[in-house]
Amino acid sequence: MQLAFSATDEAFRLEVRAFVRTHLPADIRTKVERGLRLEHADYVRWFRILESRGWLTPGWPVEHGGPGWSHVQRYIFDEETLLGGAPRIIASGIQMLGPVLIAFGTPEQQAKYLPGIRQSNTWWAQGFSEPGAGSDLAAVRSTAVLEPDGRHFVVNGHKVWTSYAQWCSMMFALVRTDPTAAKPQEGISFLLIDMASPGLTVRPIRMLEGGTDLNECFLDNVRVPVGNLVGELNKGWGYGKYLLGHERTGIAGIGSCKQQLARARSLASAQGLGHDPLLQARLAQFEVELMALEFTALRLLSAHQRSSVPAVEASMLKVRGTELRQAIYETLLDIGGPEALPFDAEVQCLDAAAELPAPAELGTLAANCLDARKLSIYGGSNEVQRNLIAQAVLAAV
């Protein structure tokens, strides 16, 4: 056992830190630190900077442009980039579709789509959830029917909670191709759909905090070339599960926790609460819980250095990490006090140079806190995660 990171990992940490300090544009850093909304162009700028260093796709195999990092290095990378004020890598093409295409796509599909993902030319929408299929994803009802000539699918359905669909030119979707299958998980296929296809419309959903980055997508007789089927017909559920299970290193969100805890400390000082005993007790509690989360993530990762982290362990990290982050956001709101109440839904959309409502920094706290409620809902709600954890432990003991 060894508590310190290896010399190699420490050197790597410094390398990432220096890179972020040198190359992260100041206006993007300011937006992240103030909890302001980032534009598409902001993400693209940062992602291209990362790609130029070969660091945009840490989860991809080396032969497809991944950097070949260990779990621990990926962990360090996440932490250092977030602590340095960089945006998270949110593009679902990078996090989700890329690994699926690499594992199950044809060489033609890989050649056609992977470069666009890496160069941030193509953003991909995740067409999974539907009004009747949230945490119970196997209930998807959107259909894809093969035309008689066998060259196109015709897709009909309604997708929802599609993040950043307004920036996306392509969508990967789970659609039902065999409505007669014995189990709901069977008879689902994984299709790639051009967002510009006739019959596909996107409607933004206005969220509590004022954001409009989530959307509904309506598919009305959308024709999709049969070459856009990933893997085998009716096997899409397995690919979807692979995709959701793939991105687990960062699932605990430790870098984000640290980022927000640091924000809470500096805001507390600015608000004259640097010596408030009740607040300091809460912050100390967060620090302890964050430490426990971080070392648990590292312990579980180090036990699976070369393989993926098992689902139950990922579920535990997801539950603890998201609930801790939400608690920190709530405390941030408390630190704001009454001055966090003036609410302008547009405030998050200000650019970094803009004057924030006085006192500075407080205008985004409520919006951030509300936005953070999504953490325990998406990616399989925390209740579903607890079901999975309990099933494993009750069966195993």
């Binding site: 056992m1 508590l3 100390a284 312990r299």
Partner: protein
């Protein structure tokens, strides 16, 4: 950053687990032990080499480190063992080996390692709570040595100790960090009264009254007026061991609870089918994984070079163990229903151990304050 156990680690853990399974049968774990049983278990722990775990082989020890101690503590916690290991092996032995005059160490340590002599550290006082510097027991210079006056409380293993390491104030004010000294006293010394006490979880301890106890000059352990760092280190070792004990205890308690939920039927189905109960079990497992991690962290931190950083990590671990241990110990009683309220059911015995561990050597509030204190860098 590496949490892997070596084959030697695993062999040690398995040996202790086998011993505990034989010596602490599951249905009686946590029950009060009579003197012959306590003596037999003590001898068994000595035979495994656990009492000299941390000592140099030249002193008859096994020369092992904090990670090994963590593994031992986990297994003892799992079995609800409450014997001589923590007071002797964790608190006293390293103090004697590291700071006692050679003649004294040579007289006390071999017996301690062999299980024929017990030594206890007396560092607590009435009203001092968890402040190790809050010492009112006095040591006054006298002809040929020192005279001790005062009262020490909750001396773990003090009821059966042959020798006592007593913290007393030789200089300075009541809560001053300087001016504390450590004295080794034989249990039969005139003026020393030992009042046995049993703790919530069955641990044995004692309160000591010292009325003009004469101590020879050769019984000073460590530097005069400079014992606090030694005592703090001992408290850190104990805190880390208690975190590991709690991790082991919670592990066993989770297994018991799952077994109950799978076998107990109500409304025509096993309790395990109810989602409300499943979610409590899920939270218990999440707590357990965090405790296991922090037990490793505390153990590894003990070996770290920077005292402030070490104390911070140990405090974080201890705070969490106190909170999660009690929370889930009590939750397990709820999950066992009315049976969980009985003395026969083991759930309550584990809860008692988890609560006790939480409040020995610093509770959650104390250690949170340590974490919140200005950082070293």
């Amino acid at each position: 950053m590496d949490f892997a156990l070596t084959d030697d680690h695993l062999a040690l853990r398995d040996a202790v687990r086998r011993f505990c399974d034989g010596e602490y049968p599951a249905p009686g774990r946590g029950d009060r032990e009579d003197d012959p049983l306590a003596a037999r278990r003590h001898a068994g722990i000595a035979e495994l080499g656990l009492l000299g775990l941390a000592l140099d082989p030249a002193l008859g020890g096994s020369g092992l480190g904090a990670v090994e101690a963590m593994l031992v503590a986990q297994e003892l916690g799992r079995a609800l063992a409450n014997g001589p290991w923590l007071p002797n092996a964790v608190l006293a032995a390293p103090l004697l080996a590291g700071a006692a005059p050679a003649a004294l160490a040579a007289r006390w340590l071999p017996g301690l390692v062999a299980g024929t002599r017990q030594v206890a550290l007396a560092c607590g006082e009435p009203g001092a709570r968890y402040d190790l510097a809050d010492v009112q027991t006095t040591a006054t210079a006298s002809a040929g040595g020192w005279t001790l006056h005062g009262r020490k409380t909750l001396v773990l293993g003090g009821d059966s100790a042959d020798g006592l390491l007593v913290v007393a104030r030789s200089a300075g004010a009541q809560r001053g960090c300087d001016g504390l000294s450590l004295f080794a006293i034989d249990a039969g010394t005139p003026g020393l009264r030992v009042q046995p006490v049993t703790l919530l979880d069955g641990r044995r301890a004692a309160h000591l009254d010292l009325a003009a106890v004469a101590v020879g000059a050769d019984r000073l352990v460590g530097p005069l007026h400079g014992a606090l760092p030694l005592v703090q280190d001992a408290a850190d070792r104990a805190a880390a061991a208690l975190v590991a004990e709690s991790a082991g205890a919670l592990d066993a308690l989770l297994a018991l609870t799952c077994e109950h939920l799978r076998t107990r039927r109500q409304f025509g189905v096993p309790l395990a089918k109810f989602q409300a109960l499943q979610h409590r079990v899920a939270d218990m497992l999440i707590a357990l994984e965090q405790l296991k991690s922090m037990a490793c962290v505390a153990a590894m931190a003990l070996a770290g070079p920077d005292a402030a950083q070490r104390r911070r990590l140990v405090s974080a671990a201890k705070a969490l163990a106190a909170q999660l241990g009690r929370q889930h110990g009590l939750a397990a009683i709820q999950l066992h229903g009315a049976m969980g309220m009985t003395d026969e059911c083991r759930a309550g015995h584990y809860a008692k151990r988890l609560i006790t561990n939480g409040q020995l050597f610093g509770d959650a509030a104390h250690h949170l304050q340590c974490v919140a204190a200005p950082r070293p860098h």
